[in-house]
Protein backbone atom coordinates (compact mmCIF):
# COMPACT_ATOMS: atom_id res chain seq x y z
CA UNK A 1 0.00 0.00 0.00
CA UNK A 2 1.36 3.37 -0.95
CA UNK A 3 0.28 6.81 -0.04
CA UNK A 4 -1.15 8.93 -2.83
CA UNK A 5 -1.64 5.99 -5.13
CA UNK A 6 -5.25 6.59 -6.09
CA UNK A 7 -7.61 9.28 -7.18
CA UNK A 8 -9.58 10.14 -4.05
CA UNK A 9 -6.43 10.87 -2.05
CA UNK A 10 -5.12 13.03 -4.89
CA UNK A 11 -8.46 14.80 -5.15
CA UNK A 12 -8.52 15.48 -1.42
CA UNK A 13 -5.03 16.95 -1.41
CA UNK A 14 -5.42 18.98 -4.60
CA UNK A 15 -8.77 20.38 -3.43
CA UNK A 16 -7.25 21.43 -0.12
CA UNK A 17 -4.21 22.90 -1.86
CA UNK A 18 -6.41 24.97 -4.16
CA UNK A 19 -8.85 26.23 -1.55
CA UNK A 20 -7.34 29.74 -1.38
CA UNK A 21 -9.24 30.26 1.87
CA UNK A 22 -9.81 33.77 3.04
CA UNK A 23 -9.05 33.09 6.69
CA UNK A 24 -10.20 36.53 7.77
CA UNK A 25 -13.71 35.48 6.75
CA UNK A 26 -13.51 32.74 9.38
CA UNK A 27 -12.93 35.36 12.10
CA UNK A 28 -15.83 37.42 10.78
CA UNK A 29 -18.19 34.45 10.83
CA UNK A 30 -17.08 33.43 14.31
CA UNK A 31 -17.63 36.99 15.54
CA UNK A 32 -21.14 37.02 14.09
CA UNK A 33 -21.97 33.65 15.67
CA UNK A 34 -20.49 34.71 18.99
CA UNK A 35 -22.54 37.90 18.99
CA UNK A 36 -25.71 35.98 18.23
CA UNK A 37 -24.91 33.42 20.94
CA UNK A 38 -24.41 36.25 23.43
CA UNK A 39 -27.75 37.76 22.40
CA UNK A 40 -29.54 34.43 22.77
CA UNK A 41 -27.84 33.90 26.13
CA UNK A 42 -28.91 37.34 27.36
CA UNK A 43 -32.48 36.78 26.22
CA UNK A 44 -32.63 33.43 28.03
CA UNK A 45 -31.19 35.06 31.17
CA UNK A 46 -33.79 37.83 30.98
CA UNK A 47 -36.56 35.27 30.50
CA UNK A 48 -35.34 33.23 33.46
CA UNK A 49 -35.21 36.39 35.58
CA UNK A 50 -38.79 37.21 34.59
CA UNK A 51 -39.98 33.68 35.41
CA UNK A 52 -38.22 33.89 38.77
CA UNK A 53 -39.92 37.20 39.57
CA UNK A 54 -43.30 35.75 38.61
CA UNK A 55 -42.68 32.68 40.78
CA UNK A 56 -41.72 34.93 43.69
CA UNK A 57 -44.93 36.88 43.19
CA UNK A 58 -46.97 33.67 43.13
CA UNK A 59 -45.21 32.46 46.29
CA UNK A 60 -46.09 35.71 47.98
CA UNK A 61 -49.69 35.18 46.98
CA UNK A 62 -49.94 37.49 43.99
Amino acid sequence: MERGSKSLRKRVISTLMNMKTDVSSIDDVVDVIERRLDEIHKRIDALEERIKRLEDLIDKGG
Binding site: S5, S7, L8, V12, L16, M19, I26, V29, L37, I44
Partner: protein, 252 residues
Protein backbone atom coordinates in the same frame (compact mmCIF):
# COMPACT_ATOMS: atom_id res chain seq x y z
CA UNK B 1 -28.66 -1.82 2.05
CA UNK B 2 -25.88 -0.64 4.35
CA UNK B 3 -25.74 3.01 5.36
CA UNK B 4 -22.22 4.23 6.19
CA UNK B 5 -21.83 7.13 8.60
CA UNK B 6 -18.64 9.01 9.44
CA UNK B 7 -18.62 10.76 12.80
CA UNK B 8 -16.20 13.60 12.60
CA UNK B 9 -15.13 16.88 14.19
CA UNK B 10 -12.59 19.59 13.56
CA UNK B 11 -11.24 19.59 17.11
CA UNK B 12 -10.52 16.70 19.46
CA UNK B 13 -12.47 16.15 22.67
CA UNK B 14 -15.83 16.97 21.16
CA UNK B 15 -17.29 13.60 22.19
CA UNK B 16 -17.08 11.67 18.92
CA UNK B 17 -16.44 8.27 20.49
CA UNK B 18 -19.02 8.79 23.23
CA UNK B 19 -21.61 9.87 20.66
CA UNK B 20 -20.67 7.01 18.31
CA UNK B 21 -21.07 4.34 20.98
CA UNK B 22 -24.34 5.74 22.32
CA UNK B 23 -25.93 6.15 18.88
CA UNK B 24 -24.71 2.69 17.87
CA UNK B 25 -26.20 1.02 20.93
CA UNK B 26 -29.55 2.78 20.51
CA UNK B 27 -29.69 1.87 16.81
CA UNK B 28 -28.95 -1.73 17.82
CA UNK B 29 -31.71 -1.67 20.43
CA UNK B 30 -34.09 -0.65 17.62
CA UNK B 31 -33.34 -4.05 16.11
CA UNK B 32 -30.64 -2.98 13.67
CA UNK B 33 -27.39 -4.68 12.85
CA UNK B 34 -24.71 -2.07 13.48
CA UNK B 35 -20.95 -2.09 13.00
CA UNK B 36 -18.72 0.53 14.63
CA UNK B 37 -15.15 1.05 13.52
CA UNK B 38 -12.49 2.92 15.44
CA UNK B 39 -10.92 4.96 12.68
CA UNK B 40 -9.09 7.23 15.08
CA UNK B 41 -6.01 5.24 14.20
CA UNK B 42 -3.45 7.50 15.85
CA UNK B 43 -5.37 7.81 19.11
CA UNK B 44 -7.86 4.94 19.38
CA UNK B 45 -10.25 4.82 22.33
CA UNK B 46 -13.65 3.48 21.30
CA UNK B 47 -12.73 0.04 22.70
CA UNK B 48 -12.43 1.60 26.17
CA UNK B 49 -16.06 2.72 26.12
CA UNK B 50 -17.12 -0.77 25.02
CA UNK B 51 -14.96 -2.31 27.78
CA UNK B 52 -13.05 -4.27 25.16
CA UNK B 53 -9.71 -5.17 26.70
CA UNK B 54 -6.49 -5.58 24.75
CA UNK B 55 -6.80 -9.33 25.34
CA UNK B 56 -10.17 -9.39 23.61
CA UNK B 57 -8.77 -7.26 20.79
CA UNK B 58 -6.82 -10.12 19.23
CA UNK B 59 -6.79 -8.58 15.76
CA UNK B 60 -7.19 -4.93 14.92
CA UNK B 61 -8.12 -2.77 11.97
CA UNK B 62 -4.39 -2.17 11.53
CA UNK B 63 -3.85 -5.91 10.93
CA UNK B 64 -6.66 -5.90 8.39
CA UNK B 65 -5.31 -2.82 6.61
CA UNK B 66 -1.94 -4.55 6.24
CA UNK B 67 -3.58 -7.78 5.06
CA UNK B 68 -2.47 -9.71 8.14
CA UNK B 69 -5.93 -11.13 8.74
CA UNK B 70 -9.41 -11.46 7.30
CA UNK B 71 -12.40 -9.29 8.07
CA UNK B 72 -14.06 -11.95 10.26
CA UNK B 73 -10.92 -12.03 12.43
CA UNK B 74 -11.19 -8.34 13.36
CA UNK B 75 -14.92 -8.10 13.90
CA UNK B 76 -15.99 -8.52 17.53
CA UNK B 77 -19.64 -9.18 18.23
CA UNK B 78 -20.54 -7.09 21.28
CA UNK B 79 -24.24 -7.93 21.39
CA UNK B 80 -24.09 -10.49 24.20
CA UNK B 81 -21.02 -8.91 25.77
CA UNK B 82 -22.99 -5.70 26.35
CA UNK B 83 -26.21 -7.57 27.14
CA UNK B 84 -28.17 -6.12 24.23
CA UNK B 85 -31.52 -7.96 23.97
CA UNK B 86 -31.96 -7.38 20.24
CA UNK B 87 -30.15 -6.32 17.11
CA UNK B 88 -26.46 -7.02 16.59
CA UNK B 89 -23.59 -4.71 17.52
CA UNK B 90 -20.18 -5.32 15.96
CA UNK B 91 -16.91 -3.57 16.64
CA UNK B 92 -13.60 -3.26 14.85
CA UNK B 93 -10.93 -1.80 17.10
CA UNK B 94 -7.67 -0.08 16.28
CA UNK B 95 -4.27 -1.02 17.62
CA UNK B 96 -2.80 0.86 20.58
CA UNK B 97 0.71 -0.40 19.80
CA UNK B 98 2.96 2.57 18.91
CA UNK B 99 4.75 0.40 16.34
CA UNK B 100 1.47 -0.32 14.54
CA UNK B 101 0.53 3.37 14.58
CA UNK B 102 3.98 4.32 13.27
CA UNK B 103 3.67 1.78 10.45
CA UNK B 104 0.37 3.26 9.43
CA UNK B 105 1.84 6.76 9.49
CA UNK B 106 4.72 5.57 7.32
CA UNK B 107 2.81 3.55 4.73
CA UNK B 108 -0.77 4.80 4.93
CA UNK B 109 -3.50 2.64 3.47
CA UNK B 110 -5.49 2.22 0.34
CA UNK B 111 -8.13 4.88 -0.13
CA UNK B 112 -10.78 2.39 -1.21
CA UNK B 113 -10.64 0.66 2.16
CA UNK B 114 -13.55 2.59 3.70
CA UNK B 115 -15.98 1.74 0.94
CA UNK B 116 -14.70 -1.84 0.80
CA UNK B 117 -15.11 -2.21 4.56
CA UNK B 118 -18.68 -0.93 4.49
CA UNK B 119 -19.53 -3.18 1.54
CA UNK B 120 -17.89 -6.26 3.07
CA UNK B 121 -19.60 -5.70 6.42
CA UNK B 122 -22.85 -5.36 4.52
CA UNK B 123 -22.32 -8.60 2.61
CA UNK B 124 -20.69 -10.78 5.27
CA UNK B 125 -22.43 -9.48 8.39
CA UNK B 126 -25.58 -8.12 6.81
CA UNK B 127 -25.25 -4.86 8.74
CA UNK B 128 -27.67 -1.97 8.34
CA UNK B 129 -25.18 0.64 9.56
CA UNK B 130 -21.42 1.06 9.50
CA UNK B 131 -20.31 3.89 11.76
CA UNK B 132 -16.76 5.21 11.48
CA UNK B 133 -15.44 7.02 14.53
CA UNK B 134 -12.80 9.20 12.85
CA UNK B 135 -9.73 11.18 13.84
CA UNK B 136 -10.45 14.91 14.19
CA UNK B 137 -9.26 17.62 11.84
CA UNK B 138 -8.52 17.96 8.18
CA UNK B 139 -6.10 15.09 7.66
CA UNK B 140 -6.34 13.44 4.27
CA UNK B 141 -7.11 10.00 5.74
CA UNK B 142 -9.99 11.35 7.79
CA UNK B 143 -11.35 13.35 4.87
CA UNK B 144 -11.21 10.24 2.69
CA UNK B 145 -13.29 8.39 5.27
CA UNK B 146 -15.76 11.25 5.45
CA UNK B 147 -16.02 11.49 1.66
CA UNK B 148 -16.38 7.73 1.27
CA UNK B 149 -19.30 7.54 3.70
CA UNK B 150 -22.94 8.02 2.78
CA UNK B 151 -23.52 10.46 5.63
CA UNK B 152 -21.17 12.59 7.66
CA UNK B 153 -22.04 13.79 11.15
CA UNK B 154 -19.89 16.61 12.46
CA UNK B 155 -19.80 17.01 16.22
CA UNK B 156 -19.18 20.49 17.61
CA UNK B 157 -19.30 22.29 20.92
CA UNK B 158 -20.14 25.94 21.32
CA UNK B 159 -16.68 27.23 22.08
CA UNK B 160 -14.79 29.57 19.79
CA UNK B 161 -12.24 26.98 18.71
CA UNK B 162 -14.95 24.58 17.62
CA UNK B 163 -17.05 27.22 15.90
CA UNK B 164 -14.16 28.53 13.80
CA UNK B 165 -12.89 25.03 13.00
CA UNK B 166 -16.31 23.66 12.11
CA UNK B 167 -16.95 26.64 9.87
CA UNK B 168 -13.67 25.93 8.08
CA UNK B 169 -14.62 22.26 7.85
CA UNK B 170 -17.98 23.22 6.35
CA UNK B 171 -16.16 25.25 3.68
CA UNK B 172 -13.91 22.30 2.84
CA UNK B 173 -16.74 19.78 2.71
CA UNK B 174 -18.76 22.11 0.51
CA UNK B 175 -15.90 22.03 -2.00
CA UNK B 176 -16.41 18.27 -2.19
CA UNK B 177 -20.19 18.66 -2.47
CA UNK B 178 -20.51 16.53 0.63
CA UNK B 179 -23.74 16.79 2.58
CA UNK B 180 -23.02 16.84 6.28
CA UNK B 181 -25.09 17.16 9.40
CA UNK B 182 -24.11 18.68 12.70
CA UNK B 183 -24.64 17.41 16.21
CA UNK B 184 -24.15 20.10 18.84
CA UNK B 185 -22.60 18.53 21.92
CA UNK B 186 -21.97 19.65 25.50
CA UNK B 187 -24.25 22.64 25.04
CA UNK B 188 -24.92 24.75 28.15
CA UNK B 189 -28.24 23.56 29.56
CA UNK B 190 -30.02 26.89 29.28
CA UNK B 191 -29.21 27.22 25.59
CA UNK B 192 -29.91 23.65 24.58
CA UNK B 193 -33.62 24.18 23.95
CA UNK B 194 -33.18 27.33 21.90
CA UNK B 195 -34.55 26.79 18.39
CA UNK B 196 -32.98 30.13 17.53
CA UNK B 197 -29.56 28.69 18.28
CA UNK B 198 -30.14 25.74 15.96
CA UNK B 199 -31.49 27.94 13.15
CA UNK B 200 -28.64 30.46 13.48
CA UNK B 201 -25.86 27.88 13.46
CA UNK B 202 -27.44 25.81 10.67
CA UNK B 203 -27.66 28.89 8.50
CA UNK B 204 -24.14 30.13 9.20
CA UNK B 205 -22.46 26.75 8.85
CA UNK B 206 -24.59 25.73 5.90
CA UNK B 207 -25.13 22.34 7.53
CA UNK B 208 -28.39 21.09 9.05
CA UNK B 209 -28.27 20.38 12.78
CA UNK B 210 -29.83 17.03 13.58
CA UNK B 211 -29.34 16.99 17.32
CA UNK B 212 -28.48 19.07 20.36
CA UNK B 213 -26.91 17.28 23.29
CA UNK B 214 -26.76 19.40 26.44
CA UNK B 215 -23.87 19.19 28.86
CA UNK B 216 -24.60 16.84 31.73
CA UNK B 217 -22.30 16.31 34.70
CA UNK B 218 -23.43 12.69 34.81
CA UNK B 219 -22.00 12.00 31.34
CA UNK B 220 -18.67 13.50 32.41
CA UNK B 221 -18.76 11.63 35.71
CA UNK B 222 -19.39 8.38 33.83
CA UNK B 223 -15.79 8.67 32.60
CA UNK B 224 -16.19 6.33 29.60
CA UNK B 225 -16.92 3.40 31.92
CA UNK B 226 -19.22 1.65 29.49
CA UNK B 227 -21.84 2.99 27.11
CA UNK B 228 -23.75 5.71 28.96
CA UNK B 229 -27.22 4.99 27.56
CA UNK B 230 -27.03 1.40 28.79
CA UNK B 231 -26.18 2.49 32.31
CA UNK B 232 -28.62 5.41 32.38
CA UNK B 233 -31.61 4.52 30.20
CA UNK B 234 -33.85 7.12 31.87
CA UNK B 235 -31.37 9.98 31.76
CA UNK B 236 -32.29 13.04 29.63
CA UNK B 237 -29.02 12.58 27.69
CA UNK B 238 -30.26 9.16 26.61
CA UNK B 239 -33.54 10.70 25.36
CA UNK B 240 -31.62 13.28 23.35
CA UNK B 241 -29.35 10.67 21.73
CA UNK B 242 -32.42 8.53 21.07
CA UNK B 243 -33.91 11.36 19.01
CA UNK B 244 -30.78 11.40 16.84
CA UNK B 245 -30.81 7.61 16.54
CA UNK B 246 -34.46 7.71 15.47
CA UNK B 247 -33.61 10.25 12.78
CA UNK B 248 -30.81 8.00 11.49
CA UNK B 249 -33.14 5.00 11.68
CA UNK B 250 -35.58 6.81 9.43
CA UNK B 251 -32.83 7.31 6.81
CA UNK B 252 -32.09 3.59 6.50
Amino acid sequence: MTLSIAIHSYRGGTGKSTTTSNIAVLLTLMGNRVATIDLDLTSPGLHVIYNVTQQLLKHTLNDYLFSKCNLEDVVINLTKYLGLPKGELYFIGASMKPEDIAKLMQYGYNESIFRELAESLGKEFNVDYVIFDTHPGLTEDTLMAVLSSDISLVIMRLDRQDISGTYLLSQVLRKFNKVCYVILNMIPQKMANSSELVEELSRTLGMPIIGVLPFYNEVLAHRSKGVFVLHHPQHPYTSKVLQIAKTLNSWK
